[in-house]
Amino acid sequence: MFSEFEAIVRDRYGHAKELKERTGKQIFGYLCSYVPEEIIYAAGAIPTRILTTEEAPTLSETLMQTYYCTFARSILHQGLAGQLDYMDGLVTAYSCATMRLAFENLQRSMGLPYTKFLYLPGIIDTPEAKNYYYKELVRFKKDLEDLFGRTISDDDLREAIAVYNENRSSISELFEGRKEAPPKISGREAYLLTLSSMLTDKADHTRLLKKLIREVPSRESLDVGASRVMLVGSPVDNVKLIDLIEKDIGAWVVADDTCTCTRYACGTTSVDQAGKDPLRALVERYLIARPPCPTKHSPTRWIQCKTCPFRDVACFDLKPDPKQELPKTLSFQTPERICRFRHALQLAINHKVEGVIAVEQKFCDPHGFDFHHVTQAFQHVGIPTLFLEIDNMVTVGQIKTRVQAFIEMLHPVDYMIDPEIRQGISL
């Protein structure tokens, strides 16, 4: 049932080359889930994400020290090894210095006809950040128009937005099955859906998803009674880790907050807004509608913490000291989106998660700094956590015992949240 998705992930280079030959379209590689793929798609090219492989990133060692994460080094290695030669362009959106260095090195070494570094604001919910990113997108669109020698009309963008929205909503529909006990689809299957979505033409992928949506209800149930686990943290693009949890140990990965799975599929672009100005609509989707990654901030997050339903149970009880109370006429803008901790907690509760594995790509600063807070947040609602450092090779032997011991101690959780507060969150 999932073999077509798995084939795309397994033979990603072959698939990209075949796609290029079949469609006659250019293939643009991208490094981060914040790249607005819709604009590339509207220009007539196919965006495909560059993910890691299990190969040791040896070639990258001449350009990136080993204390940069292997996620970035593996990407650079593939570029230096000529494995990405099918690409016609390369785009990234700013996430961290590590990915920027991988991008710049690829830019220097691959000699691609077009490369673009989009400055995605580090603060994402202020009018000025949105305005700045809008201007970045206008320039990006203009670049692509010059490159392809044609105008990208608003209708082209709307069409691309519709294609992407349909893909995301189809994935989300299938992901609803992860809430059930036993889940309708496994964690492995969930990851295969999103990873393959990043690696192929979205319209083709949606057709496969629609077929799957028809087939899934009639499939045999997955094993009953296995523990329900959630993954939180750095990008996970090697399903070996999921296989370890699900096949070897026997638990289900029923939820995640990673940019290679749920976070990628969350958040549709507003069709109403796209009707007026598609680029503005994309700014809203990428900065506000999708769940944020730990590299993104609100300048005044602590204001919202004051009214957060998890305020009394989690770690982020930031009081607006020194005055304790917010003045009635506060000039700051309240953040528009919920913080990532709250998002992750809600996901965990919605999916009846019994344990959280906080995955960190070794040397990943954004997730490394968050781990302390993530642990506290989950533990305060009664969900145990395990910190797991991984690299692109996922050395199963080393981590199996730890994961197994952790999963063996899990049991259904009576979430320690005040019933009244519980009313306040959409379960």
Binding site: K116, I123, K135, W302, D321, D365, F369, D370, H372, H373
Partner: protein, 448 residues
């Protein structure tokens, strides 16, 4: 540490004045733990001109981390690690977080802040580290997002993109003022901000002058001394006391240059230094000196002046971006601050960084370079390997990667490093001899 004979020049007369100013600042921070002006903690990228427009003391986290590193108190980092901050994270951050949790500062107590400020754009740690501090202290936190000018190999969108970046940062600076006014319960003092910027402009010019003097042959000041002077331009750039010290050291060095007095008497090879040092082991630099190697330039130290930064983005920015004017009102202040920090943010980019490194190598007549691979500092280590390779290939200068960490002594292997340093300095001497012989031969051929 190796027992090589110290081979340095006469002591600096300005040292006493420098110590007085640095100590006064250290004591001020310590006193503010219990009373006095409120403390704002932030990254070294937070514009101090902004915080100094209030009656507050600004503590740059990087400076605080470096002092923690200087004390070699590993228990601070271990405390942070025991709370779940991985060892692979920036050692400045781990030291500071540990100092906060233990409530143990280098002069007594940790300076508890009233608000915390981070930045984005240069290095992600400069936001995440301070977010962690703010969470722990339960105090308001904001982030200043420093948009770039897309220099180097990015497509140059010219004036339009640069103006967008400056306007974006100016808008945020206005938000930061509101944030500080509310957090500190004070009003911004326009006059103070204007004076801060004027003083900072002056200090940056003096810092540039100091950097030029450092490159002289023989070099009149050691890199170890400059790392101590660095606090003036990192923590006290808006202070007139810093101006006095900088003026005094410049005068002293000009005299040294005139008389040909070398800081390191045994200057056989001249080297570049990239990145911050391991503050716990400044003696490693003395070891270089004992072998006859003198450091004469460093992009890391140069970036605190104005010349390096604005030179770096010269090709990608319009003239108005690089013109520095003394402001007369708040709007002009914010415009000046925005340009300054955007220019600083240009630094971690491969192409312009490499071009500047080559320029500095040529201008300072360097014979090689040492790149401190600062474990877990992705901002300062950015592109070091590509830089070293390009310098080697294009200028024929040998390079050496010294692995370490700015504040955590556990990340530095002293024995193997010293052996590698000895081998590298010998190599640099040999390469220099070969280059000189080649040059002499060419000159002889030309004359005949």
């Amino acid at each position: 540490m190796a027992k090589e004979k110290k081979d340095t020049g006469p002591p600096l007369k300005t040292w006493k004045l420098l110590k007085e100013v640095n100590n006064a600042y250290n004591i001020e921070i310590n006193q503010n733990v219990t009373n006095g002006k409120p403390v704002i903690i932030g990254t070294a990228m937070v514009p101090p001109q902004l915080v100094n427009a209030f009656d507050a003391v600004f503590v740059a986290g990087e400076w605080y981390g470096s002092i923690c590193g200087f004390t070699r108190d590993v228990s601070l980092a271990e405390t942070a690690e025991s709370c779940g901050f991985p060892h692979e994270l920036c050692s400045y951050a781990r030291m500071t977080v540990g100092s906060m949790i233990q409530d143990k500062g280098f002069l007594g107590k940790y300076p508890k802040p009233m608000a915390v400020m981070g930045t984005e754009g240069y290095c992600i740690v400069q936001a995440k580290w301070f977010e962690a501090l703010a969470r722990y202290h339960n105090v308001p936190f904001t982030v200043l997002d420093i948009a770039p000018v897309h220099s180097g190999s990015q497509k140059n969108w010219g004036e339009e993109a640069v103006r967008d970046s400056v306007e974006y940062v100016v808008a945020q600076l206005k938000d930061c003022i509101e944030f500080l006014e509310w957090s500190l319960d004070q009003k911004v003092q326009e006059e103070k901000m204007i004076n801060s910027i004027i003083t900072m402009h002056r200090n940056e010019v003096l810092w540039d002058k100091l950097m030029r003097l450092w490159r002289q042959k023989p070099s009149p000041i050691s890199i170890r001394s400059l790392f101590t002077f660095e606090n003036l331009i990192v923590s006290l750039p808006t202070s007139r006391d810093a101006t006095k010290v900088l003026e005094a050291i410049i005068e002293e060095l000009e005299e040294r240059v005139e008389k040909g007095i070398a800081a390191i008497e045994n200057e056989q090879v001249r080297l570049l230094w990239q990145a911050q040092p391991g503050w716990y082991l400044l003696n490693v630099l003395r070891y270089f000196e004992s072998l006859g190697a003198t450091f004469v330039a460093s992009p890391y130290l140069e970036m605190w002046g104005a010349t390096y930064r604005f030179e770096l983005c010269k090709e990608d920015t319009p003239d108005w971006f690089r013109e520095r004017r003394d402001p007369t009102n708040l709007d002009e202040c914010l415009w000046e601050i925005a340009k300054e920090i955007i220019a600083l943010e240009v630094w971690p980019r491969l192409d312009p960084g490499i071009a500047m490194m080559k320029k500095i190598a040529i201008e300072s007549e360097a014979d090689g370079g040492v790149w401190h691979a600062v474990r877990a500092c992705k901002g300062v280590s950015y592109g070091e390997l590509a830089e070293m390779e390009d310098i080697k290939r294009d200028l024929g200068l040998p390079g050496f990667i010294l692995e370490g960490s700015p504040a955590d002594p556990r990340d530095f292997s002293e024995g193997p490093s010293l052996r590698q340093i000895r081998v590298f300095v010998e190599q640099a001497k040999r390469v220099k001899k070969r280059r000189e012989a080649k040059r002499a031969k060419m000159e002889k051929q030309t004359s005949t």
